[in-house]
Structures are given as C-alpha cells and as structure tokens.
C-alpha cells in the first residue's frame, strides 16, 4: 500500500518487516537510548511497519504501530539523521494517525527514551497533540493533526508575518512575532 504526498514522500507498508540496513541507518542513527530494539539483521519485526521513501526512492523514515488489547496502540517514529527538521516526522505522524483511525483506534501512545534530545522530542510531540510527562506515557487523540503549512518552510527562510492570519510567528522567536505554541517548530 503506498500513498504519495505533495512533498514527494511515499508511505509504503512493509508486508513482512525485518531488521535491515535501512532500518539500521535510520533508526540506528537516533541518539543513544532513544530506541531499545536490539534486533539482528534479517530478524522479523513485530507490529505494523511503514517506510517513507523520498522522490529518489531512498528510505528517509519509518513509522510503526504496535497494538495490543483494547486499543493500546503505541507508535514508533524515526527520521534519517540527515533528513530531520524537514517535515518528514510530521508526515509520518499524520500517516500513523490515519492508520490508527483505520483500525478503529482513537488514541495513540508514545514513550520517549532516555537520551540527550528527549526535551526536544517531548516538545515536538506536545505541539502535535500529545499530552503526558516527559518520563511517562504520552497520549494523543487520533485525528488532531499538526498544520503542515509552515512545516515545509526551509530553515533560514524569512517569515512573512503579513501572511499569518493569526499575526503569530510559528515559534521562530528570533524572527519576531508572537509564539504560537501550536505552530512551534523544532
């Protein structure tokens, strides 16, 4: 199953997911402690997995949905280290949202590993609708999506406040304007 996005990203379901070189590069590239997976090459992976491919067919991210009894659904989201802060994480989260909804699940959970960037990850999740402590269970209502209009803006690009109907900057404080926490960029 594939889905094309306007950004040239493609969402590809892995029918028989295994731990491989792409996962090692993308997921293994996360800060130490972010994920505890411990799989060997070729080992079959539990849960539902999707790869994100860019226009050059390179894998740039992964999403996983792990569901147990009663709608207890946890997501895993990983973006290739050299492709972060370009909207791929938001793309994955939106797609995982859709996948959860298709399974009749109204909330998804996430847990942040103990690593050097956990504060940033927590903030990133909170502005995308997750609620919960940094060292605990974070939960998000499925269907509440982050507005991606500003997410495709490139770093360093000037922010034009006149185009913002709410007269609020998207959280790039150094560029002026108020901080709209819902639009905050990391």
């Amino acid at each position: 199953m594939t889905t094309d996005s306007a950004d040239g990203l493609t969402w590809v379901r892995e029918e028989a997911p295994v731990w491989d070189a792409d996962k090692s590069r993308v997921i293994g590239g996360a800060p130490e402690g972010a994920f505890v997976l411990g799989f060997e090459d070729g080992q079959a992976l539990p849960g539902d997995w999707w790869a994100v491919r860019d226009a050059d067919d390179e894998v740039v991210g992964y999403g996983r949905l792990d569901t147990t009894w009663g709608g207890d659904a946890e997501i895993l989201l990983a973006v290739a280290p050299d492709r972060q802060e370009s909207g791929i994480g938001t793309f994955i989260l939106d797609k995982l949202d859709d996948e959860a909804a298709a399974r009749g699940i109204n909330y998804v959970h996430n847990r942040i590993g103990d690593h050097e960037r956990r504060d940033l990850v927590h903030d990133w999740l909170v502005v995308r609708g997750f609620r919960g402590p940094i060292d605990g269970d974070l939960r998000k209502r499925v269907g509440i999506k982050h507005e991606t209009g500003s997410s495709t803006r490139r770093q360093g690009e000037a922010y034009d406040v006149s185009l913002d109907s709410a007269d609020q900057a998207p959280g790039h404080e150094e560029q002026g304007g108020y901080v709209n926490v819902e639009e905050h960029q990391y």
């Binding site: 379901r13 079959a44 849960g47 569901t67 147990t68 298709a102 959970h109 060292d135 605990g136």
Partner: protein
Amino acid sequence: MSSVDDRTGAAPLPAGPLSKIDYSERIPNNVNLAEDRRLQRALEGWQPKFLDWWRTLGPALPTKDVYLRTAIAVGRDGWAHFAHVPMEEYRWGIFLAEADPDRTVKFGKHKGEPAWQEVPGEHRADLLRLIVVQGDTEPASVEQQRVLGNTAPSIYDLRNLFQVNVEEGRHLWAMVYLLHAYFGREGREEAEQLLKRNSGDLDAPRILGAFNEETTDWLQFFMFTYFTDRDGKYQLGTLKESAFDPLARTCEFMLKEEAHHMFVGTTGVQRIVERTAQVMKENGGKATFEDGVIPLEVIQKYLNFQFSVSMDLFGSEQSTNAGNYYSSGLKGRWQETRRKDDHVLLDDARMMSYVEDGEIKEKEVRMLSALNLDLRDEYAADCANGVRRWNQELEDAELEDRLLLPHEGFNRKVGVYAGHFVSPEGEVLDEATYEQQLGDWLPTPEDRQAVADLMVPEYEYGKFASWIAAPKTGINDQPVEFDYVHLAEEGVA
C-alpha cells in the same frame, strides 16, 4: 469440579478465607480504606462525579428498584447478596481478592521474586496505561447500552442488563482505586478522564472505536456480552497474573463478577436460537421476521460481526509491547501458572497464519512477539463452546442448520488480515467479489432495522417477547416470573 487439560495441567484448588466487606463505610471496601484518610478523601471526592456520570449516562429507563447482586465478601463461597436496590443506591465499592503474603512473580524476568506491593518506577508508565485502557472499557459499555432498557424483552432480561451495568460500574471503581492509590496526581487525573471520555463523544471518545458504537438492539447486546465481554474476561485473566499484586487481586475478583456477563450472553443467544428453531420446526424449514422471530441467517450475521470486531480488540498478532509487558511481569498469559513451559519464553516459537499471494500461509514466529495471538487463540476456542451450545438447540429441534464461527481472517481491520478480503469460510477473495457478498455475511441496515422493529418492550412479569424463549430458571432460585424490576411510574408509561 476441576478440569484437566493436557497442555495446562490441573486447576489449582481454591484457597483463602472469606473476607467480609465493610458496608458501614461510605465506600464499601476490603482494602482498609479507613486507615488511609488521604486516599479515602480522594475517592470520596471522585464518588459524586461517578454518581453524576451514572445519572447522566447510565441506564435511561426510570426504575424504582432492581433485584441486584452485590458483593459482600471475596472468598470462594457466599460472596454475593441479592436484594431489591434503587440503582443509584447500589453499593459500588472496592474489593480485592484475598492477599497471599507468599505470592511470587510467576513469569518473565522477575520470575520467582516476591510480587510487588508498590509500583516499580521503571514500570509505572506501562502499568498506568494498562489500567487506564482496562478502565476505559468498563463505563463505555454502560454508555453503549444506555437506552436498551426501553425495549427489554422481559423483566428478567431487564434485570440482567442492569446487573451487567452496575457491575461494569464497579469495575470502573476497581480501576479508579488503583489509579488513586498507586499513581498519585497523574492517577487522579486519569481517573477524572475516565468519566470525561464518553462513548460516541466526537471530542473525547472512548479509547477504542468499538466502544463508541451504540448497542441498538438486544440481539447485539447478547452478542456483545457473549463475544466482547468474553474478550474482557481474557484480558482480566492476563492481568490477574500480574506481578503488581493489587492489580492481580483486583482483576481476580472482577473475573468472578464477569462470569455473570458471560452467562447473560450465552443464554441470551441460546434462548433466541431456541425460539427461532421452534418456529423453523413448526414451519418445516425457514423462519422469518413475519413469524415474530429473528431468522437464523440474521443471527449468523450478527455472530459474524461481533466475533470479528472482538478479535480485533486483541491487537496485532505480533507486538513488541505485548512481549515487553510479559517479560516485565506486568501481564501474563491466560492460565499462566497452568502452562507447561519455562514461563520466560525467550527461546520459544509458534506458528502464525498470514496472507501472501492471495493465500493463507503459516510461518514460525517468536513466541514472545506473538502473545496477543496466543491470547486470541484461547479466546476463539472458548467462543466455539458457546456456538456448540447454541447449535444444540437446532439439533434438539431436529434441524440440519447450524451456526458457525467465521474464519479468524474475516472482516478484520487489525493485524495480518487487515487489508485482505477473507470470507467467513477462510477463502481469500478479491475486493469486488468480497464486497458483492458482504451483505450475506454481515448485518445490513435493513437487517438491523428489521431486528429493531421486533424490539417492543415486554414489562409484564413472567412474559417474554415473541423472539426469545423464557429461561429455564430464574435468578438466585427465584421464579422466572419474579418481580425482578419495579419500574418507576414514568418508566411504565
């Protein structure tokens, strides 16, 4: 009577003295709540909110009182008391099964260690989530069944509905106690949320989609209590094994109450089949809605629907989290202590079905990753028992027709069968062929409307609607025609 199974061995003998519940307390309990003033005050603060929720989203039919079972002890004998009780005055309370001071963890990496009396920091988030997910399902079904009383087929069945409802409410209390007692401020906030999320609420729905659908008719209610409450039974069975002792003891007692819900479902469907079979025999073949009964093929469609959506409740066949819950000692397997293996499962494997190239194939997977599937298999085998019992009614009426459990891949949205089109017989079809036949397999809006049209209330003591047979016996040795429910004046009108 105990059963012996080659795989699981003999059941342990029941143990433990009777533990009386103190009914002089504002919140009946057997957890010495009076000695923990802070916890008591917190729960007393939650109680009015619960009662408010019950008044707003609990049973809609006005009643004076109902002949209800209330827990008075948690030991193996004489644990319940029956009396007519105004439902709002039902003594919801906190009851844990007897403590075993020598209890040890029976599985996972903590196997052999003493069971936990407090929440270990490393497992706090997981335990909180498990309790919240379990707690969310309890009030959800009460909300779903809110208006069913308006179309009850008899006073006997109305009483059973209300009994299920009040006990689901008590199960909510059980989870809220754990949240308040062991998870501090976060637990208290989650307890509030359990009342704020509501079935069908667009902004704050219940966690699982299946618990947001209204229960529209009594056939669906009986199928729900048979298949979906049974699902809950299996979940409670895994939590009963938990290393976290208060959770284990809570779920053990909940299981005792849950047995009645299974009974309501099993006998409810059986009595519908009995009535339909009787008319089929009289007609020399078919029975239709015009005969005042539910046709067998419609019962089969409801069965197909409720079984398949209940199978989805177990989650994906393979799950990292399920394996982690097991290894950490948070959730065991169904009848964990009766399994004949090492209870660690690191080197174990099992076979799993999946769909590839239009065929259902099998492959070997690690047991630890497939614990959702293990539980689901136990559940499906149990479901088959009820279907055999229902078919006995058809056999007794000398009919050839039989009800069948659909294939595990039919109508699935979760797991390896999601996105594939598997018939109830287990044939993998293309989408067009599948969609063409779906109306023969699942209830259509017309089927549901025709069933709903039969749902006319019968409130005369001892009388039953045309589509359901009377039970063989009443509740707690009372006659079938007993005045189980006294309706309020406005309920009768």
